[in-house]
Amino acid sequence: MTDVALGWWGVPLALLGGAIRASTPFLFVSLGECLTEKSGRINLGLEGILVMGAMSGYAISYLTGSPWLGVLVAGGVGALLGVLHAVICGLKRVNDIAVGIALMLFGIGLAFFLGKSFIQPAAPMLPSLDLGWWSGIAQVHAALQVNVLFIVGLLLAPAIAWGLRNTRWGLVLRMVGDSADAALAAGYSVNLVRLAATAAGGFLSGIGGSFLSLYYPGSWNERLSSGQGITAVALVIFARWQPMYCVYAALLFGAAGAIGPALQSVGVTSGYYLFNAAPYLLTLLIMAVTCSPKRALVGAPSELTISK
């Protein structure tokens, strides 16, 4: 392997590397939220689920020595919290956004509370696939160290898109999301479908959290998440409730996180706070440009609180 100085070429490479490394949590949480929102309910508590997933995944990996079991448990814990959200939202007159905020607080608090004793120990990490073996350049090689979860996420997106379009389950889910009355008339329990969708969304978000603690940045502490769970909710709107667009948006957000450090390393040193805020500003601008007060968003489930 050769050591070469890349100079400015390091920037696009860092963006690529950043997209691959940092996009997975965005991807899983946004796919999960996409499913939940397709059922006509919004779960704003994914940040709490993400943090709880990160903590429980790390703890299980440490206690059992198996990071994959950690991922699975993180998903399970996420699903449980999703069920909690769905049960409370299923009650009359309860606002799903409020429950989401409560869940965010509850999940973060619980994770910090239970996670104290897992900050110090080192848990086994998830392995990565070496997709850069062909390159003689060390940096390219490193950028293409890919985690299996990232690939799973990439495959999951088209699978969910296909499932939503072509399966009976997908149809029921979309029907519940677009018209609860129609679903009722067809004999489906709206609450039950939404419960399943929220639990599935929680499962995926929990896995997204375990990626943070078990792969990248790869440790458990109380400041691990920098709001990926919340950002991912915005990302779903940005992606127009289309699973494939969620992939592109997640890659974009992952890359955006790498832009500040990458620019500094080639000498662009001012305004890094503003670079750090760039993804949020970009989302806001895109929403402002593409939304319209006259019609609901294309693709938006019409039962969704936020599109009513």
Partner: protein, 374 residues
């Protein structure tokens, strides 16, 4: 207001040489009668106390105090630098009878510690940051360590270890304390390898794990083979560099266990030496100076043990510098020193010793550092 503070501090440092007090105090024997009541001591941390970093270093100091007889240690973590810390201190005083407090975050001092110290003249406030000046209450005090001395030693070791001649530094914010660590690191590295460069990346805040990991990755991508940092919890930087196969120098606490392959040495606080000394002084009825500053000589900081990667030549050079720093006859900032834009920041013939107040207003990066302060 800030300008006055600097003038009085300059005056103070010229007239009273307080550095060294810490070590002297450590020798004071407890003189209290056995009948004396238990001393309640409060420690307040701004973050989690097991962060492998800044807060953990203080918690280790608190643990050393806990082992002493006749003391009761109270601890609170994750206390923000808002009015909440005033209320935490007051609560420790009012509800738990604390009479000695260690608010350990730099940002606790003004206005929070100052307000409480004026309100509770019988309670002793020992703040970490070295900010006390003569117009402040006499029962408030502030201490700090010249940890840059250890960063300098890390730099020397790193200068010998690097193959590419490129070192990396992940830093939180371009403030004087951080710039000073970067500069002493670079000056040390260039003693060992005059062509060495130090690339610095500022993340913008004290704890941003994903950003710190990204910064470390982009440093290694640029061909850098030794990485160090100044953030609250160096764990992420050290582990990421280790995974990428780079060597590392630790900071705040001992990070050798986090990087078994690439760890070289590191700069550590030595609060477990200072705090019991302070407590003994208070129990003996003595007074701790209001401003305590010191480095290796006063045992307020210490280097981490060298790993096996450190060559004999590097050890010899670093040990030699350490011995001289400990003896007090070694000046890190000795002119001529240029900044990285080519301006002379310390003229030929000028030596800025560790207590020199000019060093505390540092706003430049020395020659050999790649990066900018704004």
């Amino acid at each position: 207001m800030a300008a006055d503070r600097m003038i009085t501090r300059r005056h103070l440092l010229k007239t009273t040489m307080l550095a060294g007090a810490g070590a002297a105090l450590a020798g004071v024997a407890p003189l209290r009668s056995a009948a004396a009541a238990t001393l309640s001591i409060g420690f307040i941390y701004v973050g989690p106390r097991d962060d492998f970093g800044y807060n953990q270093a203080h918690a280790v100091g608190a643990a050393a105090v806990k082992k002493m007889a006749d003391v009761k240690v109270l601890e609170e973590e994750n206390v923000p630098e808002t009015i909440a810390v005033q209320k935490t201190m007051e609560s420790m005083i009012q509800l738990d009878g604390a009479s000695l407090l260690f608010p350990t975050s730099f940002g606790y001092y003004s206005p929070q510690v100052l307000k409480l110290a004026a309100q509770f003249p019988k309670v002793r406030f020992e703040h970490c940051g070295g900010l006390w000046s003569e117009k402040d209450p006499k029962n408030a005090a502030s201490y700090f360590g010249y940890i840059d001395e250890c960063c300098h030693l890390s730099g020397i070791v790193a200068g010998y270890a690097t193959k590419s001649g490129k070192l990396g530094f992940v830093a939180a914010k371009p403030i004087p304390q951080v710039l000073r660590n970067i500069n002493t690191f670079a000056l040390g590295a260039r003693l060992a390898n005059p062509k060495a460069t130090v690339q610095v990346i500022f993340t913008g805040d004290w704890s941003l794990p994903t950003k710190e990991a990204e910064a470390t990755n982009s440093l290694v991508d640029q061909g850098i083979d030794v990485v160090t940092c100044h953030v609250d919890s160096p764990k992420v930087v050290i582990e990421t560099a280790e995974r990428r196969g780079a060597m590392v120098c630790g900071y705040h606490a001992n990070q050798a266990p986090l990087a078994p392959k690439g760890f070289l040495t590191g700069a550590e606080w030595n609060w477990e030496e200072l705090y019991p000394g302070f407590v003994r002084t208070v129990m003996a009825g003595g007074t701790i100076p209001n401003l305590v500053r010191g480095g290796l000589k006063e045992k307020i900081v210490k280097p981490s043990a060298y790993s096996s990667l450190v060559s004999a030549e590097a050890r010899k050079h670093a040990d030699d510098a350490k011995a001289k720093l400990t003896a007090g006859d070694y000046v890190i900032f000795k002119g001529p020193i240029l900044d990285n834009k080519g301006n002379t920041v310390i003229g030929a013939g000028t030596s800025r010793g560790q207590t020199d107040i000019a060093l505390e207003e540092m706003n430049y990066l020395v020659e050999g550092v790649i990066g900018a302060t704004s």
